[in-house]
């Protein structure tokens, strides 16, 4: 990009050096986002972080963080992580395939419809979603009944909507659409021209995919899966609506301590739990960042 094209220096001698100008542009570009995040997210979270380092009498203490490694929180953390990982993977693959098929083969009309449906479904949750699934797959659900007619008794064979796997099934209702929304732009970017170019050069379909397609799509796929992981990990309303505490999860625990009717003196522990969730996600981002850096060269 020609350096003198900046409107700042048009027609006059530059007031600042190129480096300063670059910094200034960076500031202007990032400022809206940073101010916005600062006030409406970082400040509230900051308040939470500060309190997490206080014990329940208000004095500075690390007791909350040591409590996290004890039961029952440890089990809740493990369960939450497993649920998030399983949910992310079981939704990323069907979601990714669906996104690919729709983006590459669907008409524009179809893509618009899918986008709006996915937008709505990705935001379903809580009591309405729980009810929909109970109505469909509960003990007296419509799907349960239909399967019974076909001779399959899912509850008889031990399935329960209110178990770990039941939660995975319910979560997939908003996870898969989310995958479609977030991954579609990446598929969209996989030009048909590249496929054609590869074919012209003699590559088979399989070779195209293993040498060009997958490597190009993989970082976006991974980042989308990470998004799904984070979303399942922190899902609050749906978990609260579906479980009664026998499936220990960190978000519901936080809710019980902050917004409950039984325990009122462990608010700072709840805040420490929230902080620990952020730390966990940070750790989960590391593999993604490594892969991202390696495949940056593919992206332009």
């Amino acid at each position: 990009m020609p350096k003198t094209s900046s409107s700042l220096s048009r027609g006059s001698a530059p007031l600042w050096s190129a480096a300063t100008r670059k910094a200034l542009v960076a500031l202007i570009a990032l400022a809206p986002l940073l101010i916005f995040i600062g006030i409406f997210f970082l400040a509230p979270i900051g308040a939470v972080v500060i309190d997490s380092f206080r014990n329940n009498d208000g004095d500075f203490s690390l007791v909350n963080f040591s409590d996290i490694f004890k039961e029952p929180i440890r089990t809740a953390m493990v369960t939450s992580l497993s649920l998030a990982s399983v949910s992310a993977l079981t939704a990323a693959i069907p979601g990714g395939i669906l996104a690919y098929l729709i983006e590459s083969r669907g008409s524009q009309k179809l893509r618009r419809i899918v986008a709006s449906i996915s937008g709505v479904l990705a935001n379903t949750g809580g009591v309405p979603l729980a009810f929909m699934f109970i109505a469909a797959m509960g003990a007296e659900g419509s799907a349960t009944g239909l399967l019974k007619l076909a001779g399959i008794d899912i509850y008889g064979s031990g399935f329960s909507l209110y178990s770990f796997w039941g939660l995975v099934v319910v979560y997939s209702y908003f996870q898969i659409p989310m995958m479609v929304i977030v991954f579609s732009p990446a598929v969209h970017g996989l030009r048909r021209e590249w496929a054609e170019a590869a074919m012209t050069l003699g590559a088979s379909k399989r070779q195209f995919w293993t040498r060009v397609g997958f490597p190009l799509l993989f970082p976006s796929f991974l980042s989308a899966t990470l998004l799904l992981f984070a979303s399942a990990f922190s899902a609050y309303a749906t978990a609260r609506a579906m479980t009664n505490g026998t499936i220990p999860l960190v978000p519901t625990m936080i809710g019980n301590l902050l917004d409950g009717n039984v325990i009122f003196d462990e608010v700072n522990l709840a805040k420490a739990l929230a902080v620990s969730m952020v730390v966990v996600t940070l750790v989960a981002m590391v593999p993604y960042l490594i892969i991202q850096r390696k495949s940056e060269r593919w992206q332009k």
């Binding site: 039961e71 029952p72 089990t75 003990a139 007296e140 505490g245 026998t246 902050l258 009717n261 039984v262």
Partner: protein, 401 residues
């Protein structure tokens, strides 16, 4: 010199005028209802009603309509006194109530709260008794001393008993908590929530404990019972809510008796037949919920009138029985005309805090049958201290049930 005299005359007449004005002013200074501590200092019921009507609004918080028939209480109060009631987050928790008082801006402050005892201990224990204002209702002396503060900044209002709600199609109809382990009830039994988050399921665990050889000091048998039911498939992890009931997710639940009448009516409207029974092997009463007036209440007179209303033992008229002619009557007469909160709680299936007094004075109406303590039954009631111990045990055992 002339000028000085003019000033002197002006000053003198101004002084005289102000004395005259002050002398002719009403001898009683305007009452600051936010500092009123009982009916007497309010200037009597008529004055309180007038002031409340003038305020015209009341902010309540986390009061579900079918909880101990609060819906009727709100409707009656509103209709009788023309006061508009706003209910902040009806499904909210006691923690939400306290948090709101502590952090919400002035316009969002509730006037009165109805919280669980554990919430109160958390607040009072931390030296924050100043959150509530002192006000002793007319019947304050009749409230058991265990359930009120000496200064009058909190007082118990009603309590309930844990019972079994069940769908009419369930056979055999359950009568005991211990029965629920019967294989005939596979996949049917649920709690209304997480015992570490809700008073109702927490008390249900106590009830299960008493029914299975435990007591209010030993909650473990209750937890063992639920584990047994979970393993056998009787106890399912769904939440016992009205919607889930309609969808057939569960058929039997352990609930407060004062929630049952509303649930039964709601179920009937939705086409299902729900029944309720007090278990014969454990009559578990919860600790009373606690009323308090917010020290930062925006509508002080209305708040105090509401409390007088909730503690009134009058039999009186309900909201549907109240006529236009009734509304024209003056303050205290109108107050005595309408049904008091204590009896409204009774009609909702709850046990009012003033029950002993009402029985003695014969002001108790008969509530719905089958919702109260069977005569002669031993009632178990875990004290707040016992609940603290129970809480610790449940928090560590329940997640790994």
């Amino acid at each position: 010199m002339n000028f000085k005299r003019v000033i002197a005359v002006a000053a003198a007449s101004a002084f005289a005028l102000s004395v005259a004005v002050t002398a002719s002013a009403p001898s009683q200074a305007a009452v600051n209802f936010c500092k009123v501590t009982d009916l007497k200092s309010a200037g009597g019921m008529d004055a309180l009603v007038a002031a409340a009507k003038k305020e015209g609004k009341l902010n309540v918080i986390t009061l579900p309509r079918d909880w101990a028939n609060y819906g009727e209480a709100m409707d009656l109060f509103s209709k009788a006194f023309g006061i508009k009631i706003t209910d902040d987050n009806p499904d909210g928790s006691s923690a939400y109530e306290i948090q709101t008082i502590k952090t919400a801006p002035a316009a969002k402050q509730p006037d009165v709260v109805d919280i669980g005892v554990s919430a109160l201990n958390g607040v009072i224990g931390a030296g924050q008794a100043k959150l509530f204002a002192n006000y002793k209702v007319a019947n304050f002396a009749a409230i058991p001393s265990k359930w009120k503060s000496e200064t009058g900044n909190w007082y118990g209002d009603y309590n309930g008993i844990i019972g079994i709600s069940y769908d009419a199609s369930v056979a055999p109809a359950p009568t005991k908590i211990a029965d629920l382990a019967n294989p005939a009830y596979k996949g049917m039994v649920a709690l209304t929530g997480d015992p570490t988050a809700g008073q109702e399921p927490f008390m249900a665990v106590y009830a299960a404990s008493v029914a299975n050889g435990g007591s209010v000091t030993n909650i473990k048998p209750g937890l063992d019972f639920f584990k047994k039911m979970k393993d056998s498939g009787n106890f399912i992890a769904t939440k016992a809510t009205p919607e889930n009931y309609i969808a057939g997710a569960y058929k039997i639940a352990l609930t407060w008796n004062f929630n049952a009448p509303g649930m039964i009516a709601g179920a009937k409207a939705a086409g299902k037949n729900l029944k309720f029974v007090i278990p014969s092997d454990a009559v578990l009463a919860g600790t009373p919920y606690i009323q308090a007036i917010n020290a930062k209440a925006p509508h002080c007179a209305a708040a105090r009138l509401w409390e007088e209303f909730l503690y009134s033992e009058n039999k009186g008229k309900t909201s549907t029985q109240l006529t236009k002619a009734d509304l024209k009557v003056s303050g205290s007469k109108l107050f005595n005309l309408i049904r008091g909160g204590q009896n409204i709680f009774v009609s909702g299936g709850a046990t009012p805090i003033l029950q002993a007094d009402m029985v003695a004075k014969k002001t108790l109406i008969s509530g719905p049958t089958g919702f109260n303590v069977p005569s002669g039954a031993k009632v178990y009631q875990p004290t707040p201290d016992q609940q603290v111990d129970g809480k610790t045990v449940v928090s560590s055992v329940w997640p790994t049930l």
